[in-house]
């Protein structure tokens, strides 16, 4: 008999748990108000955080890490200017097919679209040069989304994936369970060769 084990935890903590399950040992970033719950969860993990001096460098450092290890590079920034500072780095990774997961904080989900402090539509802005991106409004979806982000970044032609998480979502409690397999309809990278005629 299979017993399904779930644990209650915050989305922020669940994000850190997914990073751990993906074998992430190091992340590069700068904290800010909209990403503080994630950083708070990071405090009690073994993942090393490298504090950079501008967010663009965080993506480049994640890129240098990814290109030497073959693993996915992870970078983090807060909402608004933190997120927009990532843009050049993300576009750089996209053009060179480097696997990156970029995590950004977003303003409170009830305030999105109201031009509140440090709000920017980063999923809209990065759509043309991310392999895929997500704005996570439903706390229950965070685990699947982050797992998918790693899967998409590191398979087929590799590239950057951005995951934008509003601060209120980060603080929600969820039932945490790691999905075993990733199955994304419409995304089936072909590794074995096919000859077109």
């Amino acid at each position: 008999m299979k017993v399904k084990m779930t644990v209650k935890m915050t989305v922020a903590r669940a994000m850190v748990e997914v990073l751990k399950s993906e074998g992430v040992e190091i992340i590069f970033g700068i904290p800010g108000a909209a990403i503080y719950p994630f950083y708070d969860a990071l405090y009690s993990s073994d993942i090393k955080h490298v504090l950079v001096r501008t967010e663009q460098a965080a993506v480049h450092e994640a890129s240098g890490y990814a290109r030497t290890t073959g693993k996915v590079g992870v970078c983090v920034a807060t909402s608004g200017p933190g997120a927009t500072n990532l843009i050049t780095g993300i576009a750089t990774a996209y053009m060179d097919s480097v696997p990156i997961v970029a995590i950004t904080g977003q303003v409170n989900s009830s305030l999105i679209g109201k031009d509140v402090f440090q709000e920017v539509d980063i999923t809209g802005a990065t759509a043309p040069f991310t392999k895929h991106n997500y704005l996570v409004k439903d706390p229950k979806k965070i685990v699947r989304v982050l797992k998918e982000a790693f899967y998409i970044a590191s398979t087929g032609r590799r590239g950057p994936v951005l995951v934008d998480v509003p601060i209120d979502v980060q603080m929600q409690e969820i039932e945490f369970e790691i999905p075993r397999e990733i199955e994304i309809p419409g995304y089936k990278p072909r590794e074995k060769g096919i000859l077109y005629k």
Binding site: V52, R53, E61, G70, D96
Partner: protein, 322 residues
């Protein structure tokens, strides 16, 4: 090629069939740059032998490259050239060049399948082209290629190189010995100035046992030089080789050629004293100005255990391609 770790399969293919290898900027290191069949980088900033081979080829096997404008340069793909295009992304097939035989798949898998089906060939096709390799002048002055070749010699290719974007990037692409795949890390597609130093920091975290050297210029370096603080905070022992010609060298050269010397906004007077800057972050540094000191400078940099900045004073009129 590099992402798919297909270098061994590539080597078997070209050695069996005696095929010359040319590379895009991003492909450098896919095969050792001192492999007898390697002719160099192609494109507008490429090496002569490589471009010559590309122009004369009747069959081009493209593996993982997208052949964008900078990679082709002035070379026109004609109907006389047959193209086999191997790429993991079907969107690349037929995007920039027409293809006779498109193959979508992982380079390692596809090349290993091809290798099962080919025979040995006798003669190396591009022997004549290879023999025409240009010899660089030795005029007693310190040139960037002297520095890069000295680094190559002293380290014997045992390093991970990251570069920024500009003249120094092309100098590095032409003159550094790249022994292993994945040890030449550069912003090839977007051409992002500022990439080199942070990429070196990340590379050092990823591969702490390797020596990591960032090749940069004064323009690129200043785009993200605040990362010296990250180097200091984390004590990341990266080496930085900074070619300082007080110019945005690529554009300066363009203005020299295309705008009959009407130089605008390309002189970077206002540069800091990079030695004092390094010192401000507690980073050891050395300024190299003459060829006599070259061997010693590289040897000091190599044996130094912590982060190190080597500033190479460079003639603004040093061309990208000699």
């Amino acid at each position: 090629m590099i992402a798919s770790k297909a270098s061994e399969e590539l080597r078997i293919l070209v050695e069996k069939q005696k095929i010359p290898v040319i590379s895009t900027l991003m492909g450098i290191g896919a095969i050792s740059t001192n492999h007898p069949y390697y002719l160099g980088m192609i494109g507008s900033h490429g090496q002569r032998e490589a471009n010559l081979a590309l122009r004369q080829a009747d069959l081009l096997i493209v593996v993982g490259a997208r052949l964008a404008d900078r990679a082709l340069g002035d070379t026109k793909i004609t109907d006389n050239m047959k193209i086999i295009h191997i790429d993991i992304d079907p969107a690349e097939i037929g995007k920039n060049v027409d293809t006779n035989i498109p193959i979508v798949g992982d380079a390692k898998y596809v090349l290993s399948e091809i290798n099962k089906r080919i025979s040995e060939r006798e003669e190396f096709w591009a022997a004549e082209i290879k023999a025409q390799k240009k010899i660089l002048p030795d005029d007693g002055k310190l040139h960037p290629y002297d520095v890069l070749r000295e680094i190559s010699t002293q380290y014997d290719g045992e390093y991970i190189i990251t570069t920024d974007v500009g003249q120094h990037q092309i100098w590095a692409a032409h003159h550094l010995y790249i022994k292993r795949p994945g040890t030449f890390i550069t912003s090839g597609g977007l051409g992002t100035m500022g990439y080199g130093v942070p990429a070196a920091i990340g590379a050092k975290f990823g591969s702490p046992d390797d020596e990591v050297i960032a090749i940069t210029g004064d323009g690129s370096f200043q785009m993200l030089m605040q990362e010296l603080a990250t180097i200091k905070r984390e004590q990341v022992p990266v080496k930085i080789v900074l070619f300082n010609n007080t110019r945005l060298g690529m554009v300066y050269e363009l203005q020299k050629r295309r705008c009959t010397g009407r130089f605008i906004a390309t002189c970077l007077d206002g540069n800091p004293d990079f030695m004092i800057l390094a010192k401000a972050y507690g980073i050891e540094g050395m300024r190299l100005e003459s060829k006599e000191k070259l061997k010693e400078a590289i040897s000091v940099m190599k044996s130094y255990k912590g982060p190190f900045l080597l500033e190479v004073v460079t003639d603004p009129d040093e061309p990208t391609i000699p």
